[in-house]
Symmetry: C2
């Protein structure tokens, strides 16, 4: 196995060989950019940097301009045993990027073009490093949408979405990233490029897209993606409802999904988050439910009417459209860890998922476990993705640690409490942020012996162990 503790001089020699092999390769060896792109948006990294505990910085950053360069860098990495850490825009929140000495950051930022748009078959082909909001804006200019709206859309890339198995806020109609990726090109660790053809559907053996979706840079690097797109929606309708209890909100969403309705957005905030995030009269102690449908008027108007009936039968009271519009205006705001940490606040969000029969228990047991963590100021949750079988809950914890004393221990304890309670109930420990480093100990607990299959995949596709080592799963 390759580790990042290689001798620095040795690295210099190897890197010099790469640069001489690839004269056109853009790279940096030091400076602010290398430091900034050696990590993602993991709150724990931010705490450690602030405390001066640890701030690893990669030994180099390379910025390929095309798939051939990506493949050549990976081939060199495998031959020389040099770890490579792919970087999109660094919005990951699980420690999926943390590159240190002897490692190379593979910055995909120069691969940011739309390659092709097929207006008849509704597909778009794009390079992996394009910023999500730029991409969606380009589509909108032509009258289309991808329908993928992660909160991070302004600070994440179209390739990072696949690497982490992302889900967007409009997922209940448009699907998650695995429903959107039609075909792709991937650079393998051995320096080869493979293409998985963008066909509507195939039965040509196991779906190879699934190997790389969610592999977090550990099995290959996306160099091109073909996504499904849709005409920009003709109409959008939305409504907020005050629910007597959070359980009434869960039940309303369960019944909406069961009846076959597919609103783009389903969100349900507990009483704490309702009060914290919205200023809505007469909601004290209540949960707020948001429903938003978009598309052809003839499709979404009957949907909105039918959902209204279901929600009212669960005790929902109409609170108009303004709360949803407020959310729409602010939904892409990503909190700044440094702002919070400078106020001694240690916070994070943790998204998990479970079936409907246990979702009320999940909400109660996780928040109870979280509130039992010493120093916890608030532990709350909201639902943001609904399925016929269940939903996710996005938990938010907030602690106050004077001068950040014990901040790391508090952070770890809050995560542990949340994931332990989720796992005990049979939920999944990760709905859409991925595993990275923060959830790595929980993956074997959730998958049992199936994690050995993942380990075997890692050994098979990255025998030198150079693709983003330390993330997701260890080879053995």
């Amino acid at each position: 196995m390759v580790t990042s503790n290689d001798n620095g001089n040795d690295f210099d020699e190897r890197f010099a060989a790469l640069v001489s092999e690839m004269p056109g390769l853009e790279y940096e060896r030091e400076g602010e950019i290398v430091a900034e792109r050696s990590h993602d948006y993991w709150a724990r990294s931010a705490i450690e940097r602030r405390l001066g505990i640890s701030a690893p910085v990669a030994s180099a950053l390379v910025r390929p301009v095309d798939a051939a360069q990506v493949a050549a860098v990976l081939g060199w990495a495998s031959r020389t045993g040099t770890p490579v850490v792919p970087f999109g825009l660094g919005s990951g929140v699980c420690g999926g990027v943390l590159a240190g000495e002897g490692q190379v950051v593979l910055d995909l930022g120069h691969m940011n073009r739309i390659v092709a748009l097929d207006e008849e078959s509704l597909t778009v082909t794009v390079e992996p490093g394009m910023r999500g909001s730029d991409f969606e804006e380009e589509l909108r200019k032509r009258g289309y949408t991808m329908g993928h709206w992660p909160q991070s859309i302004e600070v994440s890339t179209v390739g990072g979405w696949c690497a982490t198995r992302a889900a967007g806020q409009f997922s209940t109609w448009y699907g998650n990233i695995e429903d959107m990726l039609l075909g792709c090109e991937v650079a393998l660790a051995d320096g080869r490029l493979i293409r998985i053809p963008p066909v509507p559907r195939a039965a040509t053996g196991p779906d190879l897209r699934a190997l790389f979706l969610g592999s977090e840079g550990t099995l290959g690097v996306f160099t091109e993606l073909t996504y499904r797109i849709h005409p920009a929606p003709e109409k959008q309708v939305c409504r907020a409802y005050a629910m007597p209890t959070i359980d009434a909100g869960f039940e309303a969403l369960r019944l909406i999904m069961r009846a076959g309705w597919r609103p783009a957005v389903t969100r349900l905030y507990d009483d704490i988050e309702t009060e914290r995030n919205f200023n809505i009269p007469d909601t004290e102690g209540r949960s707020i439910l948001f429903l938003l449908s978009e598309g052809a008027a003839e499709r979404i108007e009957p949907e909105a009417a039918a959902m209204d009936t279901i929600v009212r039968a669960q005790g929902g009271e109409d609170r108009g459209t303004e709360p949803v519009e407020t959310w729409l205006d602010h939904r892409n705001k990503v909190p700044s860890w440094d702002d919070l940490l400078s106020g001694d606040v240690v916070a994070d969000t943790i998204e998990v998922a479970i079936s409907w029969d246990r979702i009320g228990d999940l909400y109660r047991q996780v928040t109870a476990a979280g509130r039992a963590v010493e120093g916890m100021a608030a532990h709350s949750g909201h639902l943001s993705h609904s399925y016929t079988q269940g939903a996710n809950i996005y938990f938010t914890f907030v602690g106050l640690r004077e001068k950040l004393e014990g901040a790391v221990e508090f952070y770890d304890a809050a995560w542990d409490a949340t994931l332990a309670a989720t796992h005990a109930l049979g939920g999944t420990v990760a709905h859409h942020h991925g595993i990275g480093r923060v959830r790595k100990p929980w993956l074997p607990k959730e998958l049992g012996e199936a994690v050995d299959v993942l380990r075997a995949l890692k050994r098979t596709l990255d025998p030198a162990g150079v693709l983003n080592p330390g993330v997701l799963v260890d080879p053995s």
Copy 2:
């Protein structure tokens, strides 16, 4: 590598050891059942048997009663280098089952129970050997449906559906089998059982279900499946339209999908199949289009109305509901190869898929290529699965070979002509029947170097090469 040419006596010794290790294991060494279950429903096998060219028969058939027995048999197979060929009900049409001397048929027919039904979260857990129609009937008794309706539902199993990446006739609303499988238990070649938990959605690394879906028994054996289900539909509406041209039918379906409508059934028959299969006044030379929606009345009535407008704008003329009802009554009838062959008729169906921008070309180029094959009596097609990006076409070829002379060569030439024309246009050579043996030479053409990843998976998950050898892909 293990081949099936092992010495017979040696097999007897190994099999005796298995039986003595597992005293409760039900097995057969000879007889009609072993012969019948040594092959699937591949037309080419039927031709060869009829011509007396080849009729391989396995050396034994075992019939496990639970997952532990399946796992133990696979473990024995790997240790002793004995090929194992999983068998559901043998409805595959690609030669995915063809077990010969020295090989063991793993008949899953005794694992045929529903294990659990969760009416709140809408999931059902079932053993792999349950017959599809029995399964759907049990669900209906309780008020539910899976929504998976392959033509073979009466002669296929719930596990076989996953092994082959099946698609049902109602797929445009309910999805294909990969959209339905929530979790599973799989026996690996090394004798271990792994479980992939049935959660609504997860971002816990690559989706391991995808490794086994479509693996056709070559990477593992499903021992339990948890599927999504739905309340039985409240209402069903359908309509048939005569289209001026097949292209007008393609365009109507493209626009229906583009607008976000999701009727359960979309079918479009060319003029030949319209005339052959249906007796509809005033359709000579025209294509017939079927649309069927099911679910809540408030959802499907606006859908039917909007689709009607789209179809009429493409020149569609209402032909009422009767043609669709006729199809519904006969849709599970599977043709008997032996009946056809006894009349000197060599026929088969080949399903492929392509994006909308090339579907008209696909129809014309494939039928032209098929009709150029010597001895071709008819080559026709119908569309049966629609997506936002494209659709499948199910081609049917019919040849007349007196006394079946040259029947195998004709059969191979008809397949080659169809797949070559499909591949040349960038379509996929397999929409939902899988690869088996008949499409195996085409897989590397479609996947290019990506097929090496499949080969690597095979070597990793089945190092002894004992899981259904000869199917899908060779290890090297």
